[in-house]
Amino acid sequence: MIRKEVTVCNRLGLHARAAAKLVQIANQFQAHVSLTTNQMCADAKSILGVLTLAAAKGTPLIIEVDGPDEAEALSQIEHLIQNRFGEGE
């Protein structure tokens, strides 16, 4: 199991499009992926869970990945968030 803390840095936070992208990437891996804010924890493969986090810009997020392909999964998810979900600014 590996974990990493990142900060949501896109202007709109984990809104529809961003959440959908994140779930789509998580779904590509076998590993279990969870996202934790200081309020709650969600399964990154659950769109309902990710939307419920309602993580706005600036929210610190702990990504925990557990499974055979965890390293690649973490790297891609981290890249997506750091890259502001490809939204530009």
């Binding site: 202007r11 493969k45 869970g49």
Partner: protein, 578 residues
């Protein structure tokens, strides 16, 4: 025989056998499952979910070449929802703990999902929650065992889909079906059914009240997408008549399609540009296929509605406009700046407490009060203008001061981009939309300043004749041929001509064949309309003589009523045609 009427959203005439699809009412029977059979029951549900995901993915593949990325993203959202572990987990718990069957367990879990999505505060997924009903039905169909879906159809079979409403996943049940027409009880021009029908070029009528109650499965149905008619169980005589009409339409269509690329000039050689009104990027394909000479009106509202409650960023604007500018290059694309407000469009940034929004803070009034939103859009347009085929249109200008203020914002944006070294079209044409009578009557004040005029007849008529078109009690008074309307248009055309500036018309009147000779005769040089009307109007113009149209317009301006004008046009049709 039953005749029902609705809104025609895709032209053509088709006759076929009805196939009824109801999204509402999914009959789910509750049965008990013994603990030892629970595992197999969960497995059965898993397979049904997987099969549904496959259906949606297949549909997306089939639609890929026809629909835009934004539209395709809806299919992705459906897949994500179906794959949500909470859905299966919830159903599994019900099967194991409550000892119920997969169908019943799924229904409960789906309801949780809909409630959950509705509670997220995310308008995009709240809208998808509505779609979940359609997805649910599909999973239930898979659970029902051997798929009801037919994959083979006898040759010559023609299916007419009658439905209350069609969601993307509902459409997936039509995989391979020889669908010749759609008719739905609900829906509008921009609904899913309308877009699909137009892209498949088959007739469709939406908003047909009483359709699913009256229609019987496997009956004979005529769908007339020209008149907005659905005829159930037609008589022999009617069938023969519509077969003739369908054939005639096909022939006519083929003939005018051959000329799609040809310019539209009157018989005496005056070019009249026919362009498209676009709401969604989805319609780019059909507008191009119809031979639209550019976009006379791109309604940017949909870009805003799509992002609600957030606002589109400069990059979002740039992306949209760049795509359209590229698709139509070298033809011109006119981007109307945000026309939010009024009776049609809602967005979280609007004040919903206005008592009379049509006369309230809408369009340019809203933009001038929210310069940040306005400038973000203007910069997006400017950055997308490097091919030099974009133009800017300010909506609902009422006073010269509004135009000057809007222009100052535009100049400020240009300076900002220039300072940043960003390339853009420094001479991007700027026009105003004439839709308020005060603007039409003082057109000479604007003529030296603007590059072009675009008359929005829908709003102009509404303001000029004091008609709320959505109010059934006064809707019949709405009359584009009212002499007051013609006088306003004539005044704008004269003022523009004195400064050598062109005038376009972009309301529904532009696509009305009765109005075409009048508008051409008054001096309008561009008609912008819904893409499905472009071919017809281009063809119509090639049969008109400018001189005859001018004579007709002169007479019409002296008429006392709209009925008198209509009479003049009818009598002149022979004369106006070359």
């Amino acid at each position: 025989m039953t005749r029902l009427t609705g809104t025609p959203v895709s032209p053509g005439i088709a006759i076929g056998t009805s196939q009824i699809i109801l999204v509402q009412e999914i009959p789910v029977v509750k049965t008990s499952i013994p603990p030892e059979a629970a595992a197999a029951e969960v497995e059965r549900l898993k397979r049904a979910l997987e099969a549904t995901i496959k259906d949606v993915e297949n549909l997306k593949e089939r639609a890929r070449s026809r629909l835009s990325e934004d539209f395709l993203a809806i299919f992705d959202a459906h897949v994500i929802i179906l794959k949500d572990p909470a859905l299966l987990r919830g159903a599994k718990a019900r099967i194991e703990r409550n000892g119920v069957n997969a169908e019943y367990a799924l229904q409960g879990s789906i309801q949780d999902m809909v409630r959950g999505l509705m509670a997220t505060d995310d308008p995009y997924f709240q809208e998808r929650a509505m779609d979940v009903e359609g997805l649910h039905r599909r999973v239930q169909q898979h659970l029902a065992g051997p798929l009801p879906e037919r994959t083979t159809w006898s040759s010559g079979e023609r299916v007419v889909i009658l439905a209350d409403t069609l969601t993307p996943s509902e459409t997936s049940t039509l995989h391979n079906a020889p669908v010749v027409a759609f008719a739905t009880e609900h829906g509008a021009r921009t609904s899913h059914t309308a877009i699909i029908a137009r892209s498949l070029e088959i007739p469709a009528v939406v908003g047909v009240k009483g359709l699913t109650k009256t229609a019987e499965p496997h009956g004979t149905v005529i769908v007339d997408g020209l008149e907005g008619l659905v005829i159930l169980n037609p008589s022999e005589a009617e069938l023969a008549e519509y077969e003739r009409r369908a054939e005639a339409y096909q022939r006519h269509r083929k003939a005018i399609l051959r000329q799609a690329r040809k310019e539209s000039r009157t018989v005496d050689g005056t070019p009249i540009r026919v362009t498209a009104n676009l709401d969604l990027a989805d319609e780019i394909g059909s507008a191009l296929a119809a031979g639209a000479g550019g976009v006379g009106l791109y309604r940017s509202e949909f870009l805003f509605l799509d992002h609600s409650p957030a606002l589109p960023s400069e990059e979002d604007h740039l992306g949209y406009y760049d795509r359209i500018a590229q698709a139509f290059y070298p033809h011109r694309v006119v981007i109307r700046t945000l026309d939010l407000g009024g009776e049609k469009y809602f967005h979280a940034v609007l004040d919903r407490t206005e008592r009379n929004p049509v006369l309230g803070v809408r369009a340019i009034r809203f933009c001038l009060r929210q310069p940040e939103i306005f400038r973000t859009q203007l910069k997006g347009i400017l950055r997308a203008s490097k091919r030099k085929n974009l133009a800017i249109l300010f909506p609902m200008i009422t006073t010269l001061q509004e135009y000057q203020q809007a222009s100052e914002h535009l100049e400020a944006c240009k300076r900002e981009l220039k300072a940043g070294g960003v390339p853009f079209d420094e001479h991007i044409p700027v026009g105003i939309m004439v839709e308020v009578p005060s603007c039409a009557l003082t057109a000479e004040a604007y003529a030296p300043l603007v590059d072009f005029f675009s008359i929005g007849t829908n709003d102009l008529i509404q303001y000029l004749l004091a008609i709320d078109r959505n109010n059934d009690s006064v809707a019949h008074l709405y009359d584009p041929m009212h002499p007051a309307v013609l006088k306003c248009i004539a005044h704008v055309c004269d003022a523009a001509a004195a400064e050598g500036k062109p005038v376009a018309v972009c309301g529904e009147a532009a696509a009305d064949p009765m109005m075409t000779p009048l508008l051409v005769g008054l001096g309008v040089s561009e008609l912008s309309m819904t893409p499905s009307s472009v071919l017809e109007v281009k063809n119509h113009i090639r049969n008109l003589s400018l001189r005859a149209c001018q004579k007709l317009a002169k007479k019409a301006l002296k008429a006392r009523t709209g009925a008198e004008v209509a009479e003049l046009v009818k009598n002149a049709v022979g004369g106006a045609k070359g």
